[in-house]
Amino acid sequence: MGNQKQETNSARQKRMVLGFSAAVLLSGMGMAQQRGGSLTVGLSYDIDTLNVYSTGFLGDVQATVAEGLVAPNEKAEYVPVLATRVPTIQNGGIKVAADNKSMVVTYQLRPGVKWSDGKPFTSADVKFTWETVKDPKFIAESKDGTEDITSITTPNDLTVVVNYKRVAPDFKSTLFTFGILPKHTLEGKDLNTDTYNQMPLGTGPFKVTQYVKGQFVVLDRNPFYWRKDKAGVQLPYLDKMIFKIIPDSNTLVTQLKSGEIQMATSVPYAQIPQLSAQAGLKVIKNPVLSWQHLDFNLKGPAALRDINVRKAVAYGLDKATISKALGGYPIPIDTVVVPVFSYSSKTVPKYPYDPAKAKQLLEAAGYKAGSDGIRAKNGQRLSFNIMAQAGRSTDEDAQQVMIAQMKTIGIELKPDNKAGVALRDARYKGGYELYYGGWITSADPSYGVFYSTKGVNNGQGYSNPKIDALLATADSTLDPTVRNKALRDFQTLLMQDLPSIAVTSNPSMIVTTDKLGGFVSNPTNMTNFVNTSGWYLKK
C-alpha cells in the first residue's frame, strides 16, 4: 500500500478555489458560521486501521481525531496545535549542541487541553507516544523520527524536552505531527491489537462514535475540544462528520451527484467538468506536494546510461500536451522540487519541447533510424519497457501520450504496467526500464531518500557523490540559508545528470457541497482534514 500512501489524496498548498474563492473567504471572515449540521465525506479506499501510526493510507479520518503538537497549514508551514509555539532556534525552542551533532527541542504544551473522554492531556502522553511507537513489538507503517530521539524528559505537565542524537531539520514532519497517543488508556496494552485501532481516543475536534468495518465511520463533536473561534464559540461548528467508504471512483461521483455524500477529496480529472456544472457542488483545486516523474533505470539497458539518450527523451517530451491530455489540470515542471517550496530552483538546466533537437542529439550519438523508424546503434534498438501504475487512469493516459511522443523521435516504448505490491517491488528494486509515476512528500521533504546513492526509494541505481554530499548537508542543518543553497545546487546537478525527468505536478481535485464554509485545503500528507474544527455548513 505504499504507493497509496504516497499517492492517494493529499493536499496541501495554497488553495486555489476555482470561481468560488470569494464566497469561501467571505464566509470565513464573516459571521456566517453556524453550529450544527453533519457532513458526509466519501473515502475512496477502505480503512485498514484508525491508528495513525499503523495505517497504510494518509489518514483522513484520523486527522479529525488525533492531534499532534504542531501541524502544517495550507501553505505547508508548521503552526502550533497542542504546543503553544513551533520550536525554532530563534525562539529558543531548539538548542543545537556545540559540536553540531545533536539537538534539544523543547515544547511548551497548551494548558487546559483534554482528551475526548475528559481526562487531561499532559507531557506524559507525549513521552508515552514516543516510547510506544519506538517499541519494536509495535508493528507500525511509520516509525519516522523515533530513532533520532535518545530520550524525553518531562520537567512538568506542560513541558516536554526531546533530546535528538542528530541535528534533524525534519523533526517536525514526523513523530509528534502525526498525533499523540493517550497514556491513560493505552498504558500496558498491546497497541497492535488494542481497540484503539478501531476507536481511537484523541484531543481533536471529533471523536469516533461508530465504526462499521468496510462501511463508514461516524464522528461526533468532541465536547471537550480546546479550540474556540474569535467570538469565543467552542469549536467545532459541525455536530457530526461521517466518512463513507466508496472504493469505486465512478460510484463516488454518483454519490456526489445524488447528494448521498457532500465531499470527496481526490476526484478523477475526467469527472470534474460535469461535477462543476452540477448545481450545489463546488470544485477546489489543491496543488499537492507531489510531482510526476519519468525515471530511467541506470542499472537497466546500456542505452539508458547514455546521457544523450536521456536528454533526447527530455527534449522529445511535450509536457504541455501531457497536461492538456489530462484536462489541463497538471502543471508542467522543470525540477523535482515542486514550485510551492521557496528553494524550488528556477535556474536548473531546462529541456523545452524540441523534437528536432532530440532527433539531432540521437543522430549525433550514433542512433540511426531503422526501417520501422526506431533508432538503433550497433544493433541495439532504442526500445524499452515503460512501467506505470496499472489502473491509475491519469498515469496510464499520460504514459500513452509519452509513448506516442517518443515514437516520433524514434524511440519505442512498450507499456509494462503493474499494480499493488508488484509495482512497489519493481519500483524499489529497479525491476523496470523506464518508470512513470509520482511521489508525494511531507512539508519538510528529504530528497536523500530518492536520489542519494543509498536512498531507500532510489530503485534506479542513480549515484553521484556530489549529490550525496549536498543532500547530506540539506538533511542535517537547521540553517535555512545553508539548506536552501544545498537543495538548489542539488537540483541543478540532478537536472544535468537527468536520471529522472520532472514532468508535471498534478493537483488533486476536491469536490464539496457549496454549503461548506471555512474549508481550507491542505497540500501535505496530513490531509485536508488536518483542521476540521472551523468547518461549518451554511443553512
Binding site: S393, Q400, I403, A404
Partner: protein
Amino acid sequence: MTDTLKRSPASRKRPEGFWPTLIARFLKHKLAVLGLVVLIILGLLAIFAPFLAPYTFDGQDASIIGQPQPPSAKHWMGTDQLGRDAFTRVLYGARISLMVGLFSALLATFLGTLVGALSGYYRGWTDAVLMRVTDVVLCIPLLPLIILLSGILRPSVTLLIAIVGSLSWMGTARLVRSQFLSLREREFVEASRALGGGDNRVMFRHILPNALGPIIVSTTLSVGGTIMLESALSFLGLGVQPPTPTWGNLLNYASQWLTGAPWLAIFPGLMILITVLAVNFLGDGLRDAFDPRN
C-alpha cells in the same frame, strides 16, 4: 422397445453422409446463418483491421487532445480523450477480444469435454481421479485466482487465453459427465454395447453427439462470458494493457466519460452485444443441426 431402438441414433444409418445433412439442417436456421455471417464479417474485420482502419490504433491527434470529440465525418465513432480515432480502436479491439473469447472458450471446451466424457463413461476409478482433479481446480474460486495470477504473471494476450481457458473447463467437464452418466444408462447405449461397439466408438460416436446440445450451448455462452471476463479484469486494472485496445478496456475506459462522451461507451458495448448475439444464434443453430431428432 423395438420402436425406440429403431429411432435411436445408434442404429440410425446416414446414407447421405453426416456432414451434408448437418449443413442442410443448419442452413434452415435463418438466425444461425445470420449469426455465422456476422461472425465471419467480424472475424474478417479483425484480421484486416490494419488495412481497414483509417488511423493507427495509438495515433493521437494533438490538436484535439484532452477532450473526447463526438462522431463526425472524419471520425465516425468520435475520438477519445487522447485524440485517438474510436472507430480504429474498436476495430483493433475486435482482434484481441475475439481472440481471447474464442480461443479460451475452445480450449476450455476441449479440456472439459475430454475430462467429462472419460469420467462419465468409465466411472469408477477414472471418474474418481478425474473428478478429484476437477474438484480441486473447481474449488479454487476462478476470478480471485485469475486476479492473483494476473498480478504475478502480467498477462499477455496468449497467457490470458491460457489462464482463462485452463481454469474454466470444469463447468463443461461436469456438464458432459452428468450427460454421460445419464446417457450411458439409456437403452441405445446398452444396445450399441451389446452389438459389440468399442468404448471409443460408443463414447464419441454414440454418446457424445447426444450430449452435444448442452456442450455447444455452454461453449457459446462461455465465448460471451470470456469477453465479459476480460472486461472485468480491465475493470480491476489487470486486463490487456493500454494502449492496446480491447472491447473490455475500451468500455471500462469509457465509464468515466459516461455522461460527457457516451459515444465512447456505445460502440464497444454494441460490438460486444452483436458478437455475443451472433455467437449464441450460431450455437442455437448448431445444436438444432446436431440434434438427430429434429
